[in-house]
Symmetry: C4
Subunit: 207 residues, 4 copies
């Protein structure tokens, strides 16, 4: 049991990083002092910040959900998994920076907007690719719990892989229709949260 | 047991977000360098920041308490509950922004003050409504633990629902008497913390 | 068991707040851009920030240690204890603000220095008084675990009460010798950490 | 069992501090508003921030990994271990400050660069030395779990001690080739993460 390390404490440490990264996002939102003369307008003018906030919040939330789903199937973690997990956490912790950049750029010049939306998308893509890689690695190295069924493996494949492709699709539109691409990222995150994650829900009542 | 997920790790992740959001509130309080010539006055002049800090701290504290109370009764979490919980966490994480806005606006023009106090109240309202919805959803979808009694359901109904109505009441006064409304929010949070949460306290000693 | 709530999750939530407050302290330390021409001097000039950082870090660390010691003896938490605990967490979360104030004031005018050191001390005093009150309340309301001995109660009395008196002593010197008072706070925190917390260490090997 | 404290909650509290310190690092990265006219260049110009971010992230990640490895072997914590652990957490929490300093200095004068890289290295050195000391102390005071083998002790010795020497080596190059020294720190952190941590991997399958 002492050697079977990683899945419990690894998950707890990862949860901590997810929870902190998701909560730090708010620190970037502010209304400039000059807008207090017309505060309604000042609050509404921050819409790019809210859009970026909600998109990043849902993305980290969905990543946390998938992380859980994946790690619940894993019996033990080898070094490759540990390193991939560190990479994932580094990318998730990094997300507040492109989020802030995109929020600022959406009220700036067209070029800045395109660059910021593209840069943000690339970070999202690497996050979803790393998550898919973690699951692939766990399956390929036979680190799953013995009771995990082929159906469950397929379910999680369907939850992790398509998001890599979807992100590529939306990123490629970032230079043409940057604002639409942001809503594309939001939609991807919402889909990742709204998809059915529980194979058991089609089964009998778990009571 | 593997499918019965969500309540343990969901609660742990939520606890993390609550703990971080409540602790980040302090970052917004500062005394301007120009006030160091008369630091007593400088410290006292920040009273709107302290008022906003205590109100938001007690609000998040009370929300955490209710969250616990609710999730202790829940046997398993379905997708709807997961999504409502993500929404709740997003709103709680968002609270530092209207808190900062309100603290700044309380020393600004009358109009800014009214707008900021109203905006803050709307966020409080959505938090209390989401919490009430989570409990409603859990009861309606029969996700409670089998040993939860009707008395306990009623107790938690009484802890979650009235705060929605109270928030509506105080928000509606924000445009008339904004400063009084802030104390109203503080009072609501204090009440939420001070109400009796333990049906067992009227019973025999739990030892 | 379901009613015996609070001690586990309360401790976990409190741990989260302690861990975050202690880690946020570093955000206040910075070297002004103008000091990069002579960075050694620029780094050394920040000594008030380091002093304030270490003092607050050790204070929160010692408070966490005492919190643990106290909550390990408690079987169940009533509402009074819950509220006192929320108050303690609010004060600990507040500490980064007077810490920043004191760090800034130590390089400012004499008056600002005295006020900031006094204000900081008052927050420390309320923290230690709240901690002593939590322990007093738990003992008085008979919420301790049955196996807690009178010796253990005395040990914890000795760990919590004297710090209230020590803080009063040091605060009263803040207006006369403010810089010495800061070292007094540091000494109190170091003592709180270095005192013997383990009655069992005088007993047989715990293996 | 009540006396056997510290290893569980100590590890949980330490995990919290590690997770927060590692996530706060991102707050220091920003693109100045003036760079939004040419945002690609603005993003690329921040390379010292990314380099410092990745180095500190991997360093804290590796320290967390070693901390876990060490504390999994420890049966109970005495006061010396508690205090060394507080010191370790204080140093890890302090790391965002020299990280920010180094990121800024890498685009400044030569002298500032050397000083900042040296200062950063000294903090890394004290972190690795404190970690080695914690392990040394645990072994010397016979606080290990009875089932820990001599092989495991040797494995952990090899994981903690060399990093002290490696840090001394790289620091001593900071005044001659500061930029190379930064990559040296990065290499050390990567090595600490990539080394084999699992003596069991050479044994039979842990299933």
């Amino acid at each position: 049991m002492r050697y079977n390390w990683g899945t419990d404490r690894l998950a707890a440490f990862s949860d901590g990083v997810f929870a902190i990264a998701i909560t730090l996002l708010i620190l970037e939102i502010d209304v400039p002092d000059s807008s207090f003369d017309n505060l309604w307008k000042g609050i509404l003018d921050q819409w790019p910040s809210y859009l970026a906030y909600v998109t990043s919040f849902l993305t980290i939330g969905a990543t946390w959900l998938h992380h859980h789903l994946v790690f619940r199937q894993i019996a033990w973690a080898n070094s490759a998994l540990l390193r991939l997990n560190i990479l994932l956490l580094m990318l998730v912790s990094f997300l507040p920076f492109p989020t802030k950049l995109m929020a600022k750029a959406l009220t700036q010049t067209d070029t800045a907007e395109r660059v910021a939306v593209f840069f943000y998308g690339v970070v999202l893509l690497t996050i979803s690719a790393t998550m898919a890689l973690i699951w692939h690695q766990a399956v390929a190295s036979d680190q799953l719990k013995p009771e995990v069924t082929a159906t469950e493996i397929t379910t999680i494949n369907r939850l992790t892989r398509p998001f890599v492709a979807l992100n590529v699709l939306v990123i490629s539109s970032a230079f043409v229709v940057p604002k639409a691409a942001v809503f594309g990222y939001l939609l991807i995150a919402a889909m990742a949260l709204l998809r059915r994650h529980h194979p058991q829900q089609s089964e009998a009542d778990p009571h």
